[in-house]
């Protein structure tokens, strides 16, 4: 089954290579190839889910090919960089999310757009990068995949974006380039620190994690850990678009085409959270605990600041971007708590936010296609001409504001249980976001679908059959997790128990 992981990562790349041999004007073929190259990974990811042993904390379906061997990197130490893949309870949900969103976003992408072939080429490269990030067990490999997401995104925004696409694409590249520096520095630091203890210089995530878990304070000092973590945190804050490093996200969402917005909000910006869980909580738990109050306060600032700014946005896409930032603030709060409920809530919130971002940007894309605008003030009464899209928009908005029965609620409950255990006052301040989310989401939703129908929109069409697939599937997952959260909880449970044992309580 391990080969499936390799296939999942490489199939989109293979698709991209095949695309090179497709004639420029064969746009239907290009989309078909993209569909296959993302659908197969979805199927494979599903079969990995079926075969996954949720009782096991170790990396499963692992593959490890020797790749780069450098002798005498430092003194007599050799550095091994391997093509090592594997998944555990933490990476599997992210893998499934990626597989789902990358496939659904291809359905949404129009084959009639200009330079469709190139679009799908970059898109598939992006998909390989995204898959790779979540299944790489080698830090160097992880970093390569992270970089692989950058360049395709730059072109996807820069060529197929809105009217300010150029500057926004550059902004995206610069921001995330800087984030990469922090992440790379931290990775290298981790590898060498672990190497100094174990004697083997390796970039392997599992052995680094083990070494750190066993190392005494004499071997790896707390100062070093907290220092490395701060460097990593800067990278994470940018990757994850946290205040004050968030400004690339609203711009990106405003300019990116719908499918790319789905991928950015649904998967790409979740890489930061994944690094926080995997490296922060997994390898440097002491450091996370050292900065717990700082992270919690930062989380609350994000929750409230972004919610308030969302309140006065005029463009749906910017509103949703700030809404996502606000929700991800809850993730920081949950992580800072460093207990079972907080961590599980944080992971749930990340996955839930990914699904909901994907769904909401899709719906707003559908609205834009029909009305020509995403400006909230210009819309109105869309329930009448497009009751189905309006209904799904209502459901998505409700899910996003934390209605029980949908994925957001249970995430919030767990994250806040964890947070209230650790720091009741900070957590209490953070709950204000729950009310603010209801205010801006209901306002925007009602302004769009309620009220008298604007004359121009009286005869716009409702959703078409093909378009309804992503909409229905994403909503189904949001409800599934909301009604039966164990479907996600059982996956991550063992991993969290492992983390919590390492924290020591």
């Amino acid at each position: 089954m391990g080969n499936l992981l390799t296939l999942i990562v490489l199939l989109p790349l293979l698709g991209a290579l095949v695309l090179l041999f497709v004639p420029r004007n064969a746009q239907g073929q290009a989309k078909a190839i993209a569909l296959i190259a993302t659908f197969l990974p979805l199927i494979f990811a599903g079969s990995l889910y079926a075969g996954f042993d949720s009782g096991d904390q170790a990396m499963q379906f692992a593959v490890n090919y020797d790749w780069i061997h450098i002798n005498h990197v430092f003194h007599d130490k050799a550095l091994d960089i391997d093509f090592a893949l594997g998944i555990d309870g933490l990476s599997l949900p992210f893998l499934l999310l990626t597989a789902l969103i990358t496939f659904l976003a291809v359905i949404v992408s129009k084959k009639t757009m200009h330079r469709a072939k190139e679009y799908f080429f970059w898109y598939l490269l992006l998909a390989t990068g995204l898959f790779g990030c979540f299944v790489a067990v080698d830090l160097f490999l992880f970093f390569l995949f992270l970089e692989l997401t950058l360049i395709p995104m730059y072109f996807l925004i820069g060529i197929w974006g809105g009217e300010r696409k150029g500057p926004v694409a550059v902004k995206f590249l610069v921001y995330r380039g800087i984030a990469s520096v922090g992440i790379l520095l931290a990775f290298v630091g981790l590898a060498f620190a672990a190497g100094s203890v174990s004697g083997d210089l390796t970039m392997n995530l599992v052995s680094i994690t083990d070494t750190f878990a066993k190392a005494t304070p004499d071997q790896i000092s707390d100062t070093f850990k907290t220092g490395i973590f701060l460097v990593l945190l800067i990278g994470i804050l940018i990757e994850e678009a946290f205040f004050p490093f968030h400004t690339w996200l609203p711009d990106t969402h405003e300019q990116a085409p719908t499918a790319i917005s789905m991928v950015v909000g649904g998967v790409l910006m979740k890489i930061g959270a994944y690094i926080l869980f995997r490296i922060g909580v997994g390898i440097l738990p002491d450091a996370v605990q050292h900065y717990a109050i700082l992270i919690a306060v930062l989380g609350v600032i994000n929750v409230i600041y972004a919610a308030l700014v969302a309140l006065v946005q005029r463009d749906w896409r910017k509103l949703l971007a700030f809404s996502a930032i606000s929700h991800m603030g809850v993730v920081l709060l949950g992580v800072a708590a460093m207990n079972e409920a907080g961590l599980q809530g944080a992971i749930f919130m990340t996955i839930s936010s990914g699904l909901l971002s994907g769904l909401l940007f899709l719906l707003i894309g559908l609205v834009q296609e029909r009305t020509g605008t995403t400006m909230i003030g210009a819309l109105g009464g869309l329930s009448k001409p497009m009751p189905i899209i309006a209904g799904f928009l209502l459901a998505a908005a409700l899910a996003s504001l934390g209605l029980p029965g949908m994925s957001g609620f249970i995430s919030e409950v767990m994250a806040f249980i964890g947070a209230f255990k650790a720091f009741p006052v900070i957590a209490a301040v953070g709950t204000a976001g729950i009310v603010l989310a209801a205010v801006y989401l209901l306002w925007a939703m009602q302004r769009t679908t309620y009220g008298p129908t604007t004359v121009d929109y009286e005869s716009v069409s409702d959703v078409r059959a093909l378009e309804s697939i992503p909409m229905v599937v994403l909503t189904a997952f949001v409800i599934l997790i909301g009604v039966y959260p164990a479907i996600l909880g059982d996956l991550v449970n063992q991993t969290i128990l492992g983390y919590v044992t390492r924290i020591g309580g």
Binding site: M414, F416, I496
Partner: protein, 634 residues
């Protein structure tokens, strides 16, 4: 049968799903039949549960695993207690009648099926709330009934007022829900469980896992936080403002959700969690005061409103205030009893009001009504019964339950609350009979054409009125000397919660006189017109009249004290975000652009070049990082 209690909410859920599948093409008759049958089936099961609880006592909870979080489990399930068995019967009974009534009222609406979908979803959620054995599950359904309320208030989505009212209802109650949310999370943090029984046990034994507060203060804090949820849901002062606006929804919705069931959920919650509240005398005092203020405050506003539904809505707020006050003075049985009787006579008043509104082309202004007794005899009679029950005139339902509450207030030693309750009772009798006289007696003051065409609706609408009318007459006897205080004994199957208050003859006499005085004043002002109402409103009492008419300017106060400042803060932050947080970034970018003018020839649009530069940059980065970090360690 008790172990099948889950069937009661299950039926309406099935009906909801079936209606969802059927979609908009379904015939109105089939839709109504399906929904009514589901609710009726629930009613039958509820009755059988009630009789079994009566025979064998409470049962459950029946628990199922839901989610593992680290090393602890969250569960879902159901339970049957005397309190919720009573609620099941009341909710399914009123629901069935409202579903029937809606067939006539919503006849011909383009979204008829959608209306029934939402109603069935609501009934499911309300019943789910009632049988929940733990706080988390209760909260889940609590939010779902709120959702249904939102959907149904905004049912006529194309009307801007309806949309605004729906949003207001959701957001104002959510402010209350925030308190509830924090409350139950804190309960969980302290006790490690959401189960009612486990929570009560932990609190009574003092085993709370809290080190940042004394245990007594913690219990008070948690009790008040949970009560904040009830303030929102049961429209207590100061979060009452959403309920009158919620009257924008179709009238059957007002009857079911905003009178009989959902708004009573706050009272139900405090009653269900009563052992928690009993552990904190301070919290009980707060509850009693909030309830007392709400009872008199809403009654005063009700005196001067001209929209028939809004008067009834303010009366609902006021009556909920009575129930809350009763819980605050530990009159547990009186409160739950009033909850039950109120459900019958208030649903009746709303449906009767709906029948009037339906007959005269959706006019709701009582100044444009009059003389409808002849046209709508059944509606008139049943409205009169409801009004008498509300006014607390013997032997109607409200008389018995209200007297017990007043007795409870008096015996608790809080004379102020008792007097407030008595004054509110006077106002209540006055305003509901003001509506009665203006609507049913005198001359019709609207367009003659409308009056000529007004007629009683068909039996789907009158049958529910008659059945509710019968309940409004006899339900009060359930807790009276006539039946040997049967209701009280039944409720005590859950344990002896609170104190019992059986009213004295003196109290009965006093409250009856107060009620009759209110009716009498309404008669003099609006029937015989011996007192000129206009002159009173424009006379020396004008400031008071305006205060009442403008609802004590609470909406305006909130607008200027909360809404406007929040919007301004948001605008300022948005400015900061754009010009400072992002502004610095852009300034750096500009600086970079200027300095890179010389490099612009490298930007030739060749993807290969970009790729090469990126690769070189990455390699450089890795090199620098290695150098820095290795230097740092070795």
């Amino acid at each position: 049968m008790v172990e099948y209690a889950w069937l009661v909410p299950f039926f309406p859920l099935v009906a909801y799903l079936l209606l969802f599948v059927l979609g908009r093409r379904a015939q109105e008759g089939i839709v109504t039949t399906l929904a009514v049958l589901a609710s009726l089936a629930g009613f039958v099961v509820s009755l059988s549960i009630l009789s079994q609880v009566h025979a064998n006592g409470p049962s459950g909870p029946y628990i199922f695993h839901w989610l593992t979080v680290g090393s602890f489990d969250l569960s879902v399930g159901y339970e049957v207690t005397a309190l919720n068995a009573m609620m099941l019967v009341v909710v399914t009974f009123v629901s069935t009648l409202v579903l029937l009534f809606s067939k006539g009222y919503m006849n011909g609406d383009k979204r008829f099926v959608v209306f029934y979908q939402y109603l069935c979803l609501f009934i499911f959620s309300m019943l789910g709330l009632v049988i929940s054995p733990n706080l988390l599950q209760m909260y889940i359904f609590w939010e779902l009934v709120g959702l249904c309320s939102f959907l149904l208030v905004g049912f006529w989505y194309f009307k801007p007022e309806a949309a605004a009212a729906a949003k207001k209802a959701f957001i104002v109650t959510r402010i209350g829900d925030l308190g509830l949310f924090i409350g139950i999370v804190l309960v969980f943090v302290a006790t490690g469980t959401f189960e009612y029984s486990g929570v009560f046990q932990a609190i009574q034994s003092g085993q709370l896992n809290i080190d940042w507060m004394s245990h007594d203060n913690f219990v008070t804090l948690v009790a008040i936080l949970i009560f904040v949820g009830a303030i929102g849901k049961s429209a207590q002062f100061p979060l009452h403002t959403w309920l009158p606006d919620a009257m924008e929804g179709p009238t059957p919705v007002s009857a079911l959700i905003h009178a009989a069931t959902m708004v009573a959920a706050g009272v139900y919650l405090v009653a269900r969690a009563f052992p928690l509240f009993e552990a904190s005398p301070d919290a009980l005092t707060v509850i009693a005061i909030i309830g007392g203020i709400t009872a008199i405050f809403a009654a005063l506003i009700g005196l001067t409103q001209n929209d028939i539904k809004r008067v009834v809505a303010y009366s609902t707020i006021s009556q909920l205030g009575y129930m809350v006050m009763a819980l605050g003075v530990s009159a547990y049985v009186a409160s739950t009893f009033h909850l039950m009787t109120h459900a019958f006579f208030k649903a009746l008043l709303f449906l009767a009001a709906g029948s009037v509104i339906h007959a005269i082309h959706h006019n709701q202004d009582i100044r444009k009504m009059g003389g409808l007794w002849k046209k709508l005899p059944i509606t008139g009679w049943t409205f009169l019964i409801g009004a008498l029950a509300l006014s607390g005139i013997p032997p109607f339902a409200g008389f018995w339950s209200k007297d017990e509450i007043l007795t409870g207030a008096l015996q608790s030693g809080n004379t102020t609350l008792f007097v407030l309750g008595l004054i509110a009772a006077f106002c209540t009798a006055f305003y509901i009979f003001r509506v009665f006289f203006l609507t049913f007696t005198g001359e019709f003051r609207g367009e003659k054409d409308v009056y000529d065409h007004a007629h009683e609706s068909g039996s789907v609408m009158t049958l529910p009125l008659v059945l509710l009318g019968i309940m409004a007459i006899i339900a009060g006897l359930l807790n009276s000397p006539v039946t040997g205080y049967a209701f009280e004994h039944f409720m005590h199957l859950d344990g002896e919660l609170g104190q019992v208050h059986e009213p004295s003859i003196g109290m009965m006499g006093l409250s009856t006189v107060v009620g009759l005085l209110g009716i009498g004043l309404a008669y003099l002002m609006y029937k015989s017109k011996s007192i000129n109402a206009e002159a009173m409103a424009n006379g020396p009492l004008r400031p008071l009249y305006l205060l009442s008419f403008n609802k004590f300017y609470i909406d305006e106060l909130y607008h200027y004290v909360i809404v406007v400042p929040v919007v301004w803060i948001a605008r300022i932050l948005n400015f900061v975000d754009h010009w400072i947080v992002d502004g610095i970034v852009r300034a750096l970018g500009e600086a970079g652009y200027v300095s890179s003018l010389g490099l612009k020839y490298s930007q030739n649009g060749q993807v290969q070049t970009y790729g090469l530069i990126t690769l070189l940059g990455t390699v450089l980065l890795i090199g620098i990082s290695l150098y820095v970090v290795i230097g740092g360690i070795y």
